[in-house]
């Protein structure tokens, strides 16, 4: 399989073969790209169709089809296919809103012009996916209602509320009674949530450990 890929590869390296990258390694990197664009997924399938050499550039092309993201991954330098016949099924797809939450799908949370709204939507997806037992444990630990007043570059302000006290919900709008109100720039909140790779887990951890005031 993939004899042509290897032939190119030998030409490229000029007779000095380099060990190839693990399939599961670029599988993981492609999965990260889907996560960056569409958030958490419940399953992922790939076919390894070609080799990748350490140092090469991966290009993941994605097509969103309902709740699934069909994708393929290429090696930029050789315009060669590395992954085909691949797809991931999203944890919270907008094709079936309100499937898991009586308060509605993520579209209720997302607001154009606010990157932070995507962070809240992802955090909500993760929260909704928790078992009741896990949720109760988290609520007990955090025990607070956090209101975020987020302002964007256009000078608009929107609010989101994380109720980590009674309901265990994340929704758009102000809290009836907030224990902590955080005033933050949209760009700062997004940078915080995405800066360390695991976007919503960092964000969730902050909030559910009651450290939102540190934002």
């Amino acid at each position: 399989m993939q004899t042509n890929v290897h032939a190119n590869y030998f030409r490229k390296v000029g007779g000095f073969p380099t060990p190839i990258l693990h399939g599961l390694c670029f599988f993981g990197i492609s999965g990260k790209h889907i996560y960056q664009k569409y958030g958490p997924f419940k399953n992922i399938k790939v076919r390894f169709a070609g080799t990748v050499l350490p140092g090469e550039t991966l290009v993941t092309e994605m097509w969103k089809e309902g709740n699934r993201v069909i994708f393929q991954t290429k090696v930029k330098e050789r315009n060669a296919i590395a992954i085909t016949a691949a797809a991931a099924e999203l944890l919270s797809g907008d094709s079936k809103p309100a499937a898991k939450s009586p308060s509605g799908g993520s579209s209720d949370i997302e607001v154009p012009g606010f990157g932070a709204s995507k962070v809240f939507a992802q955090a909500k997806a993760q929260l909704d996916a928790m078992s009741a037992q896990d949720k109760a444990a988290k609520l007990k630990k955090a025990n607070g209602v956090f209101q975020f007043d987020v302002s964007n570059d256009a000078g608009k302000t929107e609010s989101w509320t994380i109720d980590a006290k009674t309901e265990g919900t994340i929704k758009k709008g102000k809290a009836a009674k907030a224990d902590v109100t955080i005033i933050v720039k949209d760009s700062d909140l997004v940078a915080l949530a995405t800066g360390k790779g695991s976007a919503q887990s960092l964000f969730m951890r902050y909030c559910f450990e009651g450290k939102c005031a540190n934002l």
Binding site: P17, H22, A85
Partner: protein
């Protein structure tokens, strides 16, 4: 020589626990005859050892060159998302992400426990390429 052909991963528990002891059990799902090569699909179930809760399901298909021709079936059963053809639509992609891997990426990935010398030893990988 063995090649990794396909991989299916299902994350059964969100968020993924950040600590705990995992226990993984493996089973053979399919052994197919692809002529020159054999295709073997292995299923693994990973559980939290203390609670017994399933965290991950994996299905890995490997090609073993030179092991085919034993008269087995050439096509396996439909296993849903794990065997879906996933043909991309004709339109341009909705999103594209580009990322350069590092020169030491394979050495770094080795820390995950995959010690196959194909990924680290130039002489071994060269010998494998030549043998085909």
């Amino acid at each position: 020589m063995l090649l990794h052909g396909e991989q299916f991963l299902e994350i059964k528990k969100y968020p993924i626990p950040t600590s705990g002891t995992l226990s993984t059990e493996a089973r053979i799902i399919d052994i197919l005859d692809k002529g020159k090569a054999a295709s073997v699909t292995i299923g693994t179930t990973t559980k939290d050892k203390s609670s017994g809760e399933v965290i991950f399901e994996n299905q890995a298909t490997v090609f073993i060159r030179g092991s085919g021709g034993f008269g087995g079936p050439s096509k396996g059963a439909d296993r849903g998302a794990a065997t879906a053809p996933n043909v991309p639509p004709k339109r341009t992609p909705d999103a594209v992400v580009e990322e350069k891997t590092s020169e030491d990426q394979a050495a770094l990935y080795r820390l995950s426990g995959d010690r196959n010398p194909l990924h680290i030893d130039p002489e071994f990988s060269y010998a494998n390429q030549c043998a085909r």
